[in-house]
Amino acid sequence: MATTTTQTPTVTAAGRGSRLRFPWRMLALLLGAFVFLFPFYYMIIGSLQTEPDPTPAGALPDPGNLTLDNYSDINAQVNLGRTLINSGIFTGGVILGTVVFGALAGYALAQLHFRGRGTVFALALLVQVVPFQLLIIPLYVLITRNYGMADSYLGMILPFAINSTAVIIFRQYFLQLPSEMFDAARIDGASELAIMRWIALPLIRPALLTAVLLTFIGPWNEFLWPFLITKQADLQPLAVALANYISNVSARAANPFGAILAGACVLAAPAVTLFLVFQRRFVTSDIGSGVKG
């Protein structure tokens, strides 16, 4: 890119030939892929090492130094089964709330004309720039003290219950449906809820998948909020339990990095797998709807 600054027009014309442009572009792309993927590879290798081997040679699998013990070590410390179930309940609750109430709101914002619609849509956009982390203190006081929801799934789910990005995605897709179709159903006497559930929703099934995937990564990866409100270990999602292990316990373990990386692999696997399987749904819609509206 910057290398052509001083070139004469003739050289520039040659530079447009695909053969001269190819190497730097491919090199940049490959270097980028290496930088992004290597830590994941290293995470897996590190989780399988009997002794942590931070030397460059340790980046290659050494048959004499491979074990699954780190996975049982971390399981003994944080109870992977229990914490995975907790992560699942937390994430599932958020997805349920988003799919039910978010889709209703998205449908209304796209297809129904009612007083205050513009205000609600503006709110949905506004809450995306005010991250809830800035409100943790009042939320913590309200939810743990005033509502008595400390150490409960409900308290964990509540601040995330309806994902505003998903609401906007739903609205985006419902907007593309012809309103004449719904008018016809209304004339036939269908209730608004029936129209939404049986006509509109089946038509936006791709958006539903996108919204579910997008909503999934939020609570599954969330650390701060569940960390604040769960003191009981048997309610903690995996991200919280693993973070507590990293900050408190690992100093005393025999192979702390092995156990940490084993836990990291378990935590990362569901989100990464879903992303790899459904990557098309991630890349096409959520970014576009976020940027262009």
Partner: protein, 314 residues
Amino acid sequence: MTAEAAPPAVAARPPVRPRTGRGSSLLGRHPMGTAFVTPYVVFIAAVFAFPLVYAAWLSFHDYFFAAPGATVDRPFVGFDNYATVLSDPAVRQAFGNIVVFLVINVPLTFALSLLLAIALNRAIHGRIFFRVSYFVPYVTASVAVVGVWLFLFSSGGLVNQILGPLAPDPSWLVSSTLAMPTIALFVTWKQLGFFILLYLAALQNVPKELYDSASADGANRWQSFRAVTLPGVRPATVLVVLLATITGANLFTEPYLLTGGGGPNGASASPVLIMYQLGIEQGQPDVAAAIGVILVIGVLIISLINRRLVGGGD
């Protein structure tokens, strides 16, 4: 940071068909719409609007955690909490750390994501592979990738082993000069995929004709990059600044885990980390709420400026 921080958007407004008389009531043509958005509006009110008001209330009162059920006096103290916050060196340091974060994160994100987006935009082979590999860190939990970064950047870790005699001493995460830059590097790495896709979408919206007419006018590639590409991706660039600022204001997991609680000596502390330490660990939610209010106001101002800049670019 998660996808919740998706950028604000200017929406295509659906055509409003004016219809008078039959059907239009006090609530609009479709009163059911109000019922449909009610759960969402209640949610926003409970999780954003009310806590925001409550944060402001807390920040002007002397609030402390009392035993459940006990009625205690919470006197109005004016701007005392704000004065406490602004005179606290730890808080000032945390805000200063955001500046360090931005100075590293913004240019790095801009340059690398634009470079990779341009390369990806013209690539013929392996586009899906590259897109997926760039985006994987973005969908992975911070806690999980922090684990591997701790391993990579520890004193005897792989990075220092490769650097050999060039390895910094004290090492990355325990050095007061390098801790915050390492966090900035981590966040840049984790979020770059999102910005690459952002720039990719912006690049695809730049009309090809502009490049043709630029080259017809004799522009070389650098000139057409400056005259066509950069203005074409300007909205995305402004978003990088906005989202980086929001991320900086929000940092918690990274200083908490990567540098062991904002260490060394607060050199990598973030405002949210300070809010946690002051408000919850030390039981001063009123002072912590004041930090939150300052941050919300800051983020809103920056997003308003951002919106104006993007609007001007169109």
